[in-house]
Symmetry: C2
Subunit: 191 residues, 2 copies
């Protein structure tokens, strides 16, 4: 998606360690009118699918998932990273390794919010190694629901997670795929 | 707001310890078309204010804040609960006690996303003792920005946080205020 690639070139900051900071519009400050264009694009890409629910994971997936939800007109469920004191005990459970925080998170979704009739679109802000999405797919499958596809804003193509999911037969639509980036020169090469 | 009161009566579950579960539409599953009506209502209530930015806190505030942001046409900034490894070091910092998780969270907002010219609407899903909102107000004031008001979906009026903020001169608009609730009988009394 040209619009997103241009935004990344304009506002993204490449840091050492293959970190791309897009926190000015995607995952700390959320540029709502801009992200609305991404939401519309997800709706266009998955117009052939009857989506009943969008699934994402806290925290940074929630904004883009809810904005996309405005165009799909369906509920958003966000998987939670730990079991709070008033969290339902009757949950689907998985574990997701976070490279950013170097820890394994227990991730849960209440069984009340995913069921066998659901046709789920999984949305997240970032796709790198694919751990988070694999965990979400696991949760959907535990519920006996169908994964209709995965929609991601920024895929770090060089980390391989997206292609691994595609090879496993998952439809992955990333609005921008970065094949190469270089912190020293500040250059980004899109697929 | 009648619509929200009816939804709480229909789908809310009162648990012992003054816990109201509204996770089927507000803070685990987000009923996007329904929450859109709340977003519209915030826009109507604060139509007299020139809002430049919405501030909320991860995770459960993000959905309602972003949906409201669609009607205000402004960016949403969400305060983060801990300093991730690729988090900006140049942040406004406060501490917020969470009764739900019985811990003090370090909460930050990058200085790049709040400044003296901002007229901020703070939005959150819940208001009980007011700790989270006091922390967010602190962050706005550190930036020298103006708090134009606070918009909350559900206020537990009997916990006093809302009235404390109002007494301090903050404009607080809660779409439903619960003055009393009883787990045994399952009754809720709205203000």
């Amino acid at each position: 998606m040209k619009l997103l690639e241009e935004k990344i070139l304009k506002d993204g900051v490449i840091k050492s360690g293959n970190v791309l900071k897009v926190d000015s519009f995607l995952n700390h400050q959320i540029d709502v009118p801009f992200i609305a264009e991404l939401g519309k694009e997800f709706k266009r890409l998955f117009a052939d699918q009857k989506i009943t629910k969008i699934l994402t994971i806290e925290a940074s997936g929630i904004g883009i998932a809810c904005i996309a939800g405005m165009y799909f007109g369906v509920p958003v469920v966000f998987a939670k990273k730990s079991s709070g004191s008033n969290m339902d005990k009757d949950v689907y459970f998985t574990q997701i390794y976070s490279y950013t925080h170097n820890k394994v998170n227990d991730v849960v979704v209440s069984k009340r919010f995913l069921n066998v009739e659901d046709k789920v679109l999984i949305i997240d802000d970032f796709l790198a190694n694919g751990c988070a999405l694999e965990g979400l797919i696991d949760l959907v499958r535990q519920a006996g629901a169908a994964v209709q596809g995965v929609g991601v804003a920024v895929e770090k193509g060089f980390q391989g997670g997206g292609d691994k999911l595609r090879a496993a037969g998952i439809r992955v639509e990333s609005l921008a795929i970065i094949d190469k980036m270089d912190a020293q020169s500040g250059t980004i090469q899109f697929r």
